[in-house]
């Protein structure tokens, strides 16, 4: 009986099956790369703001502490964005006519708040609490990057759950002394390898099982 299929079918079937798998893998890679990229997570993207506020100038050059504006970071889940009045505390006296500050003055004059675009935005089903992180020795720069070097604010890290778990599974890697939390330039001393474990014990940071319980962040 003659063959139904041409001999080349052998090759084509192998090529197409293998090629199909490779293509599916390629598609998967494309999807994942997009999903984990800054396009979706916002990492590294500088967003437009009503006023081009420069953290590099105010924090880096002027030396203003984070807490002057982000006032409730030590007592609340939300760190707080400063009200217009905080800006006007200084800018009613300096740079009083600068055109770049006109939206701020207009907001204060008309009693209409400034509408900033949110840079660090977690999904609504995630409940992040700033105060406990700050209290336990997680520095501002650990998550937000070197804000004192950012002329315009961008999101330093991906804020994906896997990134949070990186620390929650092993806090000793990232904890710093409490008095260094607001120090942007802090670096771990190279000569003290056990500092992380020591601080975790001293600050009574919970074990990984507690930190990775779902209800710790999701409710």
């Amino acid at each position: 009986m003659s063959q139904i299929f041409h001999r080349s079918t052998n090759i084509w079937s192998k090529v197409s099956i293998l090629g199909g798998l490779v293509f599916a893998g390629f598609l998967g890679w494309v999807v994942v790369t997009i999903a984990w990229s800054g396009y979706v997570t916002g990492q590294g993207v500088t967003v437009d703001q009503p006023v081009q506020f420069s953290h590099a100038h105010h924090v880096g050059s002027m030396g203003i502490d984070c807490r002057y504006c982000h006032t409730t970071v030590e007592e609340s889940a939300f760190a707080n964005i400063p009200p217009t009045k905080t800006c006007m505390n200084c800018h009613s006296q300096i740079w009083t006519n600068a055109p770049i500050l006109e939206p701020v003055r207009a907001s204060f004059r008309e009693n209409r708040p400034l509408e900033w675009t949110r840079v660090h935005d977690l999904p609504d089903f995630v409940y992040f609490n700033h105060s406990i992180h700050v209290a336990k020795g997680v520095g501002c720069a650990t998550c937000h990057g070197r804000v004192d070097r950012m002329p315009l604010m961008y999101q330093e890290n991906s804020l994906m759950m896997r990134w949070c778990l990186d620390c929650h599974r092993n806090p000793a890697k990232y904890i710093r002394p409490r008095d260094q939390v607001f120090n942007m330039a802090y670096e771990r001393p190279a000569d003290d390898p056990g500092i992380g474990e020591r601080l975790v014990k001293e600050y009574k940071i919970a074990d990984a099982r507690q930190l990775t319980s779902c209800s710790t962040c999701h409710r």
Partner: protein, 1030 residues
């Protein structure tokens, strides 16, 4: 449902050994249909499995949805704005709620509350733990009032003949209308209000009456909350309720539930169980209920005697020995019962309490008062305050007004808060007569039947937006402060009345209230003796004002202070409704009432306010509409209650639609057969059938407009009457949760008598089997930190379901509507189950709140394919909404049926006024995810973070879940089981502690303290406790 075979049910009950617990007559009848219904929790999908053709479709759908489930994660989060203040208020920390003390009046009487406010918008009502009138509890109405605040159907602007007006226009309009009345001293000027306890408003009324001496004040409440008695359940050993529902909602029920429950538990537990070796601290109290319509009080009672409402007065006379021996009651057990109760009362002189119900004529309350005084109870278990609070004839004021309107004598009518067109007795024909009024002003929160017929409509500010004051049931004054500026153009009663008082016009409510209290502090008005809580005078008026607003009550105004300060003003303002010594009721002569029904023929009709929407005012409140009503667990509709015998005689089944004919008026209602209802009577609940109502209260079917029972209510038979005729006119679908989430023949409720419990404390434990902890291959969880647990005390629980509404408010739980409730899809995370036992005609009733059990061996955790429900390090069963793909296997596996699935998008994304209502600390769930009770993990996390920041442990009592905080009886206790000193740890050590369905080895963290009752051996021999589990 096919016709029920009651004789078969009765023989089943009689033949069973020991006690049988049942939820519904259908369960008892155990028909084919019922068994079928029971096994289909998700009928539409699962039934396809058995059908060979359908199975393919089912598999296709399931696999497609599983594949697509992951794709939903591939969305990019939209950019959000973040908007700070321009000038941030100093004490406001975003993310930390503030609590403000205020009060929510109910029928004029204040329910004291603390309201949680997130960034300036109130989200949750809690009780005020320091307030003597509530000790921290609340009721369903106070909890649900937050939804009414954000109700999009509220009246928003003033209207004159349907056209928009401003507040200034109203003031001018009033000034013009008053022009004539100044000259003629107020002839033709009439005010109609409900009960008012506010000292500020009462002073305004007296000022108006000084300027216009001929002006008339009329008072009308469909259900009056005014009472001349304050009961002290903590001091009572024996309590007899004469058709008084003291636990059934309303401001007084909060404190009464707490006192009664505390006394009950003190009588049962002392250290390890109140055994013979260590007797309990106080004797256990005993509650008798001689009542008509089954109520929560009757459900809690150790002994209940069902009588027709018209027979209660005769029972009261027999109880006090003044009835003569010849009274015959419709209930053959009545004579023996009353004799035993009378004996028990005599044995407890000075520590007993007889309560005459509000739904009975004044003569019953007078008989109760006389009996209390003769037993020496007055001043001990009950305090009587000045008469004149509760008028003998509640309809007198309205009748006078109707007559004046009919005669054309009313030129200016001001209706403040009442809705007489809907609620007035039918014989007064109020709506017709209202047309004869010269100028009518209606001050209401919503457009309603009265306001659409009035010339001026002035929107009323919600209590949570209002400055004001009000008295609690014990007289304690609370100064009300607003949580938010009025959302619309609402005004308070004080502001409306200030338009009639020259020296006050133009003043804001804040100024009016503060001015009154500054003068009261100075002793110039009100007759109050104002001191701080330690008895010392305040430093200044300003200091007094700040303290009173902070604490939520004015010390020295309760109890005796009420007599001095309030009674005089209240008496003056009662106007036409002032009472003298109340005589025999204007109802039927009780000497003939026992045979009245037989004589005049027909049934007796008993009127009651609907337990959840009350007199109709909450008809647009979705939480209360969907709250399953006590005893019957019906939602969204009223029902007519009849006893089993009456149903047999009249050949009626559950869900039959009947027409009620009474005194020439008709209405329709669906039937609910309620075991324990007196024979020959029908209870009709008023409040439904509203003509003008918002989107939630709209009747779904045309026939539901006929459910207006106010058509049958006449001023001479406000609470009951004879001569009712009923006839079946069709069928009606009732959405009822009684048969939802059944636990199938297992023994969920355990109870025992105090004597049995004292003899053998293990009697509760022997009612079930607890598997040994080694009976599982899964290693035990280790809890080194906190170990959360909950104990629910069934001896304390009164079944009021405040926990359900509180949980709704705290956790953003959606309202699903009648159709979905009918499919078993109601979303309540905690439900109050209702069980009956024993006699079909007078059963014992049990309530059991069922939240998630947070099992240590959770059947749901094992089966989730995506790991959306996991066990936390502190023992909670976490529900992670973002992982859930909606297989519903977890709910399938849960033996308690406490998991709720969002079958559809039940949340209202569109109505913008509801956005500030939602608790920002809890995710708002969309369709397709499972949800369940979380032990209020948001509160646990909040407390844990605060404690960690302060480097301390969470204190016992610092974390209080919403249900536990709201419970008026303090029946729900929550805490850390790893703390040996915690209250919950001690309670779980009691012998009467048991887990629900613990023989399934789920190891629930929520356990129950069994109900212990205190029967009187002379009335009925207590049935033997069922000690073997079978």
């Amino acid at each position: 449902m096919s016709a029920m075979d009651f004789s078969a049910i009765r023989s089943r009950l009689a033949g069973s050994e020991g006690r049988l617990y049942w939820r519904s007559l259908g369960e008892l009848a155990d028909t084919e249909q019922f068994r079928d219904y029971l096994h289909r929790e998700f009928p539409e999908q699962a039934s396809q499995w058995n059908d060979p053709k359908g199975r393919r479709e089912f598999l296709k759908l399931m696999s497609a949805s599983l594949a697509l489930a992951g794709v939903s994660a591939c969305t990019k989060q939209p950019a959000e704005k973040i908007v700070p203040y321009v000038r941030q208020p100093e004490e406001l920390v975003p993310g930390r709620p503030l609590f403000f003390a205020t009060a929510i009046p109910f029928g004029g009487v204040a329910t004291p509350v603390l309201v949680e406010s997130h960034e300036g918008h109130p989200t949750k009502v809690e009780g005020n733990p320091q307030h003597p009138a509530s000790l921290g509890g609340t009721d369903t109405f106070a909890q649900a009032s937050i939804l009414t605040l954000y109700d999009p159907d509220r009246a928003q602007t003033a209207l004159f003949r349907g056209e928009y007006r401003g507040w200034g226009d109203f003031l001018i309009g009033v000034k013009d209308a008053l022009g004539n009345h100044r000259v003629n001293q107020g002839v033709g000027l009439h005010f109609l209000t409900e009960t008012i306890t506010s000292p500020t408003v009462l002073e305004q009324i007296s000022l108006i009456q000084k300027t216009y001496p001929q002006a008339k004040w009329h008072r009308w409440d469909a259900v009056s909350q005014a009472s001349d008695a304050v009961y002290h359940f903590d001091k009572a050993d024996v309590i007899v309720s004469l058709d008084a529902d003291v636990f059934g909602g309303g401001p007084a029920s909060i404190r009464y539930s707490r006192d009664f429950a505390t006394r009950r538990r003190e009588g049962v537990d002392v250290e390890h169980g109140g055994t013979e070796a260590a007797p309990a601290a106080k004797p256990m109290n005993r509650l008798y209920a001689i009542e008509s319509t089954p109520s929560l009080t009757g459900a809690k009672a150790d002994h209940r005697l069902p009588l027709r409402a018209s027979e209660i007065e005769a029972a009261a006379r027999a109880l006090s020995g003044s009835g003569g021996g010849g009274t015959s009651f419709s209930n053959p057990n009545a004579q023996k019962f009353i004799e035993a109760v009378a004996k028990d009362l005599q044995a407890h002189r000075g520590t007993s309490l007889v309560i005459g119900g509000d739904y009975q004529p004044a003569s019953v309350r007078q008989l109760a008062r006389a009996l209390n005084e003769s037993l020496g109870n007055a001043g001990a278990t009950v305090t009587y305050v000045a008469a004149g609070n509760a008028p003998a004839d509640p309809a007198a004021g309205l009748r006078e007004l109707a007559q004046a309107m009919d005669a054309g004598q009313v030129q200016l009518l001001v209706i403040l808060g009442a809705n007489p067109v809907f609620t007035a007795p039918a014989d007064l024909k109020f709506a017709e007569k209202l047309a004869k009024v010269g100028l009518s002003i209606a001050h209401t929160t919503h457009p309603d039947e009265t306001s659409v017929l009035c010339h001026w409509n002035v929107p009323e500010a919600h209590p949570l937006e209002s400055w004001g004051d009000a008295r609690a049931f014990d007289g304690t004054v609370t100064v009300m402060q607003p949580l938010i500026a009025p959302l619309y153009d609402g005004r308070t009663t004080a502001e409306v009345l200030s338009a009639f008082i020259d020296e006050q016009s133009g003043k804001s409510a804040h100024d009016l209230v503060k001015d009154y209290w500054t003068r009261a502090y100075g002793g110039q008005v009100g007759g109050f003796t104002i001191t701080d809580s330690s008895g010392q005078p305040f430093k200044s008026a300003e200091s007094f004002w700040k303290h009173v607003l902070h604490d939520g009550w004015v010390p020295g105004t309760g109890g005796a202070g009420r007599e001095a300060g309030g009674a005089a003003a209240a008496g003056a303002a009662a106007g036409a409704a002032a009472a003298t010594t109340p005589e025999r009721s204007s109802n039927l002569d009780p000497r003939t009432s026992t045979t009245a029904s037989a004589a005049t023929g027909g049934l007796e009709i008993i009127f009651r306010p609907d337990p959840t929407i009350w007199d109709g005012r909450f008809a647009n409140n979705g939480w209360l509409q969907e709250l399953p009503k006590p005893i019957t667990k019906v939602t969204w509709d009223p029902t007519a209650w009849i006893s089993v015998k009456t149903a047999e005689d009249q050949k009626l089944r559950d869900g039959d639609l009947i027409e009620l004919k009474f005194r020439g008026n008709t209405a329709k209602l669906p039937v609910a057969i309620v075991p324990g209802h007196p024979d020959g009577a029908v209870t009709a609940f008023f409040g439904y059938g509203r003509g003008v109502i918002g989107r939630v209260g709209q009747a779904p079917e045309d026939v539901a407009r006929e459910f207006d029972v106010y058509r049958l209510r006449t001023s001479d038979a406000l609470w009951f009457g004879s001569g009712l005729e009923i006839s079946k006119v069709g069928r009606y679908v009732i959405a009822r949760t009684q048969e939802h989430h059944l636990m199938e023949d297992r023994r969920p409720v355990r109870d025992a008598n105090i004597e049995d419990y004292r003899k053998d404390a293990e009697v509760i434990a022997h009612m079930g089997e607890k598997p040994p902890r080694t009976m599982t291959l899964i290693p035990e969880w280790q809890y080194n930190g906190y170990k959360w647990g909950m104990a629910i005390d069934l001896t304390a629980c009164t079944g009021c379901a405040t926990c359900t509404v509180a949980c709704n408010a705290e956790n953003n739980i959606p309202v699903v509507g009648k159709d979905q409730v009918n499919r078993g899809r109601e979303m309540h995370w905690i439900r109050v189950d209702h069980y009956f036992s024993d006699d079909l005609d007078n059963p014992k009733t049990y309530h059991q709140p069922v939240p998630c059990m947070q099992c240590e061996n959770a059947p749901c955790e094992l089966v989730c394919p995506v790991g959306a429900t996991t066990h936390s390090a502190e023992g909670l069963n976490d529900m992670v909404y973002n992982r859930c793909v909606g297989t519903r296997y977890c709910s399938n596996n849960c033996p308690y049926k406490v998991r709720r699935f969002n079958f559809l998008l039940y949340q209202d994304w569109d109505t913008t006024s509801l956005e500030p209502l939602r608790n920002p600390d809890v995710t708002v769930r969309s369709r397709g995810v499972m949800e369940k009770c979380t032990y209020c993990v948001q509160r646990i996390n909040y407390a844990r973070i605060d404690a960690k920041r302060e480097d301390r442990k969470i204190k016992d009592g610092e974390v209080v879940p919403a249900c536990a905080a709201a419970c008026p009886a303090d029946a729900i206790i929550f805490g850390d089981l790893n703390d040996p000193a915690a209250r919950v740890t001690k309670l779980k050590k009691l012998e009467r502690n048991y887990g629900l369905l613990e023989d399934l080895n789920t190891r629930p963290r929520t356990t129950y303290l069994a109900e212990i009752r205190n029967p009187n051996p002379e009335i009925a021999p207590a049935p033997a406790a069922r000690t073997t589990h079978d």
